[in-house]
Symmetry: C2
Amino acid sequence: MNKHKIAVVGYGNIGAYAVQAVKAAPDMQLMGIVRRSGGGDIDGIPVVDDIAKLGKVDTALLCTPTLNVEEAALKYLAMGISTVDSFDIHGKIPQLRESLDAAAKKNGVTAVLAAGWDPGSDSVIRALLEAMAPKGVTYTNFGPGMSMGHTVAVKGKDGVNGALSMTIPLGTGIHRRIVYVEAAPGADFAKITEDIKSDPYFVKDETHVFKADDVNALTDKGHGVSLTRKGVSGQTDNQLFEFSMKINNPALTSQIMVSCARAGLRQKPGAYTMIEIPAVDFLPGGRDSWIAKLV
Amino acid sequence: MNKHKIAVVGYGNIGAYAVQAVKAAPDMQLMGIVRRSGGGDIDGIPVVDDIAKLGKVDTALLCTPTLNVEEAALKYLAMGISTVDSFDIHGKIPQLRESLDAAAKKNGVTAVLAAGWDPGSDSVIRALLEAMAPKGVTYTNFGPGMSMGHTVAVKGKDGVNGALSMTIPLGTGIHRRIVYVEAAPGADFAKITEDIKSDPYFVKDETHVFKADDVNALTDKGHGVSLTRKGVSGQTDNQLFEFSMKINNPALTSQIMVSCARAGLRQKPGAYTMIEIPAVDFLPGGRDSWIAKLV
């Protein structure tokens, strides 16, 4: 079998789990890790500062911060390498898609964007539930779990040495924020609390701020979601649906990126969100065996 | 807007709900109902014994018994009409797909098969969960709700005037069957019970048979499913997923058929199960607004 040649770009939290997921995929070959400080290897996997040093690569998994995704994707697409990212700013996905679509088509490759669990697999569930009950309301309830975005926002405040922001689901899409702060010596904790509560990330939510001696001691990578819809199928009301999960966050994100790398190589040139890809294309091997097994 | 022209074939339980679902769809026009005893109308909708009498039809929704699906689909596909069915014998789906695929391609149309909730939307969920956690076990737990197949099996027994077989989920894909029987006057109830328990439909399951004076008085169309997976994302164990719903069974089945009729008209000629269709194609209108709303 001709395995898909994959490079992992970035070696933070997601990158480290992506390496594991590529290794576990039966149809993929991990060509190497790309990071600024290239050179040497990690557990025998070559680490380079330039993807060209890895030889032919089919797909680059962009395990970079969300704000760097577009620049990185355009760079690799221009080199004729397909990309997968887990860009997670919901409101900016259409414009990222447009930008990557043009570049992917120009270079005869594909980009799968927003390929995590939300946006990502949750988006597929939301689309499916719209098809099953076209009228109604879907609520996406996150957590309990660590919010990366909120944690980063707190870390940026004056007097904060370390932070952890937990998202607690209260139902109907409403969330409580529990924030643990390692304050710098002499910092004004009341001022920090006020800064957090007035931040746009927190201002609409019930937010509680606590002192912590060591936020690392409180941090686990578990997260969850409960996505509910109550709606109307045809003209019949009160159809009830729920999707929920309890997962290791970076492990799931990177696994979905790997499944999307496979799917991307099966699409025509262009950019795709997960709702634009048939579910069977995420899975290894031929369609027929999956149809027999899953349908 | 050019609306999709839809005919509902068969007017049993599913057919009646399909009429409602087509009427509720913003991009569809209900051309009529096709049934053996054609003539007249139902609430103003023409009823005919031959689809040709309805003029141009894009898609026929086959609301016929599962065992008649292939014959009906081949007939309409040969007329250049796309089809959607909710064929539900899991083991025979690959061969039905092959048969309909050839006919659809020959006539430049599409067939969406096994388009209900199981097989159907549950199959999409199962595929998505495989992509999210490739190693692990998925359990599909049905009910509580009426099983059509089991009820029909009981109705076929000697001495049975009426029947209702309820499916009760016990978890891990194990089900209890609660069967209510209206026995014919003078029938041997012990014999009926033995016949049911030794039937291939029941022989593997914990089955309880009760006498009932009037099974209609016990029957509602509610059903449910709880689909669980515990698996491994990359190399991380214990990823937990659950999809559950509580629904009116024929209302959901027919709604999914309507969404699949739309999706079928967007695919290249051929036959498709739901896992082979991008989720966004089930939804009315353009992709861009759904990407902005759902992703």
